[in-house]
């Protein structure tokens, strides 16, 4: 039996700043993962990734990252993706500055 599809978000790095961004349902790139569109259907997720990848002048390296639904919106399931929502642990740099 094929593995069950786990929910995803489309994420990438912003072209100019290079920081992590996530794709929203209304086709914006957000810097707050909680605003991202949570993709629960595999075919739809693949389609959204294709659409995102086509936006070459806005982002680089789009991919599907595992995510889970929370009351506040999509949240990371893996520590790597969690770090991307915050920044490095050795300095108060990156997204955590605004949290």
């Amino acid at each position: 039996m094929p593995k069950a599809f786990t929910p995803k978000v489309v994420t990438a790095n912003a072209l100019l700043e290079g920081d992590a961004v996530w794709l929203t349902e209304d086709d914006r790139w957000t810097r707050d993962m909680a605003e991202a569109e949570l993709l629960t259907d595999e075919a739809h997720a693949e389609l959204r990734l294709l659409e995102a990848s086509a936006r070459a002048s806005e982002i680089a390296g789009a991919y599907l990252a595992d995510a889970q639904a929370t009351d506040d919106g999509p949240a990371p399931t893996h520590f790597r993706e969690a770090f991307r929502t915050r920044g490095p642990s050795n300095y108060p740099h990156g997204k955590q500055v605004d949290l």
């Binding site: 790095n13 072209l15 100019l16 290079g18 070459a56 002048s57 520590f79 642990s89 740099h93």
Partner: protein, 555 residues
């Protein structure tokens, strides 16, 4: 040190202009990321977890004060006011914006620097002994040869698309401070019967399949250096595996092909291309050597130094750990620790860079080095100036007396920055250093090299750490494996895995058990961790590391 000639200057400026145009076309949408990526990598620009990262080459780790000040200016103007010195003697900026990178490269070109071939499947920055030109045990300064290799390898048309990256290191002494046995080509300058030449090692490397380099020839005459290196890279370019990224480095080529067969092919290729290398390269080498002439060392009393040692215990402790014998009477090599307890290994603020530049200019014959152990070296300081140097370092938070000790840890950026990492390295290094500072034990423990990598690629050289730590992702959780007995010197050895790994919470207590356990196991205070490990083997250390459960609970 080497100064760009008109050719170098024009070449680097042209490259910056090309890259500026490429960045412009990427931003206006004319280039896709797939098209742009190889172009940015050729110019040292990575895209990491939180931002772009620009890796700037510090050729063979040598800088002058003007260059160091410019690195500080770049950090302030286009980054977050600091830089990260790496295990390949480079500096990385972690927060540049794409639009600014061409300006950063122009600012580098202003002081004879660049970021060319700091990435990609090319011959990377040639590294060298960070004590080159100063060490008492040196046969000859290896840097002119490293510079010759840099000129030969930069934009070499045959070697822009190698099967994988290619790293060369050169040392001028029997004592290997450049880890040449863990490089694709390792060169050791030797003098045999009055003639200068090289021992050539090939196929060393760390990463997924760690290997110690093998001797291809014990003595290569200096005039054959370039054609012989070209023959090696050429043979690798043909034989190296392009079907599997994990088997593409020359260490695998040598392993699979056999050293004798590689040697035969290199000799054959060498014979074919040798005639094309005329005397021009040796004339260029002579010009380069003239630029690396030793500074005019001065004769002066060192009484003040001895008096300061007696008067100030903190200064004495610092001189005990951070100085190395110099070839010139009355001089010392100063290793400035960029490993303050609890700080990020290898990170220097722009203010600290400026202090280092000032010290080099005032007291150090205008020379600085970056070591592969992520420290900064003032290679030529007269002992009478050491009290003043120490005072200035202390004011800049740069006077940590820990060179070669537990807290002098190599750590790669790990998952705090790197897109390839599988776990974090920096916090582990910070915790270990902070803990041993609390225990006030590191001087008693003595020489001990801990090296941490945040993934199997081993940028943190964990395989050659006396204690190596490798961060992995085990089922979605950070996990740290320990290796013991590694050694990056002329006695190069790959460390051996102890057993099961430790969680992020358990790794610090594990390292503490290991180091305190060594204090129990050693014969006396003169036996180092590595010596004790070599005498006793893995088992007693393993017993310290993995005590029966009830003992752990009681502790």
């Amino acid at each position: 040190m080497y100064h760009y000639n008109d050719f170098d200057e024009a070449f680097v400026r042209t490259r910056v202009a090309q890259f500026r145009s490429q960045v412009g076309r990427r931003i206006d949408g004319s280039l896709t990321e797939d098209e742009f990526k190889p172009l940015r990598l050729m110019n040292g620009l990575y895209l990491q977890l939180h931002a772009y990262m620009l890796r700037v080459a510090v050729p063979y780790g040598t800088l002058n004060s003007k260059q160091m000040r410019q690195l500080a200016m770049i950090a302030d103007r286009w980054d977050k006011g600091y830089g990260h010195f790496t295990t390949r003697q480079n500096i990385q900026y972690n927060w540049p914006e794409l639009r600014d990178v061409p300006d950063m490269l122009d600012a580098l070109a202003d002081v004879g620097m660049h970021a060319i071939q700091t990435s990609g499947n090319t011959i990377r920055n040639v590294t060298a002994d960070h004590f080159a030109g100063a060490a008492a045990d040196e046969v000859e300064d290896p840097r002119p040869y490293a510079e010759l290799l840099r000129q030969w390898s930069t934009d070499h048309p045959e070697f822009q698309f190698l099967p994988r990256k290619f790293k060369i290191a050169v040392t001028g002494a029997e004592a290997d401070r450049a880890v040449i046995r863990a490089h694709d080509i390792g060169l050791q300058v030797r003098r045999v019967d009055g003639k200068i030449g090289f021992r050539v090692l090939v196929g060393g490397g760390l990463g997924r399949t760690p290997m110690i380099g093998k001797v291809l020839t014990d003595f290569l005459p200096v005039e054959d250096l370039l054609p012989y290196c070209e023959a090696i890279v050429s043979v690798y370019n043909v034989l190296g595996r392009r079907d599997n990224k994990y088997k593409a480095r020359i260490k695998i080529t040598v392993h699979e092909t056999g050293l004798d067969e590689i040697r035969a092919r290199v000799e054959e290729r060498f014979a074919a291309i040798r005639p094309a290398f005329d005397e021009a390269a040796m004339e260029i080498l002579d010009d380069i050597k003239a630029q690396f002439a030793l500074p005019a060392f001065r004769n002066a009393e060192t009484d003040g130094f001895e008096a300061a040692r007696l008067a100030n215990p903190a200064f004495r402790a610092w001189t005990d750990t951070n100085l190395t014998p110099h070839r010139a009477e009355g001089y010392a090599i100063v290793s400035v620790s960029i490993k303050k307890h609890g700080a990020t290994p290898g990170d220097a603020s722009s203010d600290q860079m400026r202090v280092l530049a000032d010290l080099a200019q005032t007291y150090g014959h205008d020379e600085l080095r970056i070591s592969h152990e992520q420290n900064v070296i003032l290679p030529h300081v007269h002992k009478s100036d050491l009290p003043a140097v120490y005072a200035a370092l202390r004011d800049a938070d740069l006077a940590t007396a820990n060179i070669g000790l537990v807290s002098d840890i190599i750590a790669c950026p790990g998952m705090d920055y790197c897109a390839l990492a599988t776990a974090r390295s920096i916090p582990i290094a910070q915790q270990i250093a902070t803990r041993f500072e609390e225990l006030k034990l590191e001087h008693e423990v003595g020489p001990l090299k801990i090296k941490i990598s945040g993934c199997i690629n081993a940028c943190g050289h964990h395989h050659v750490g006396h204690i190596g730590i490798l961060g992995l992702d085990r089922a979605g959780v950070e996990n740290y494996q320990i290796t013991l007995g590694g050694d990056g010197t002329e006695d190069a050895t790959i460390g051996t895995r102890t057993g099961p790994g430790f969680s992020a919470d358990d790794i610090l207590p594990a390292i503490e058990r290991l180091v305190l356990g060594y204090l129990d196991l050693r014969e006396d205070a003169s036996e180092t961790f590595l010596q004790a490990y070599r005498r006793l083997g893995m088992e007693p250390f393993k017993a310290k590391l993995y005590p029966p459960k009830e003992e752990q609970d009681a502790a």
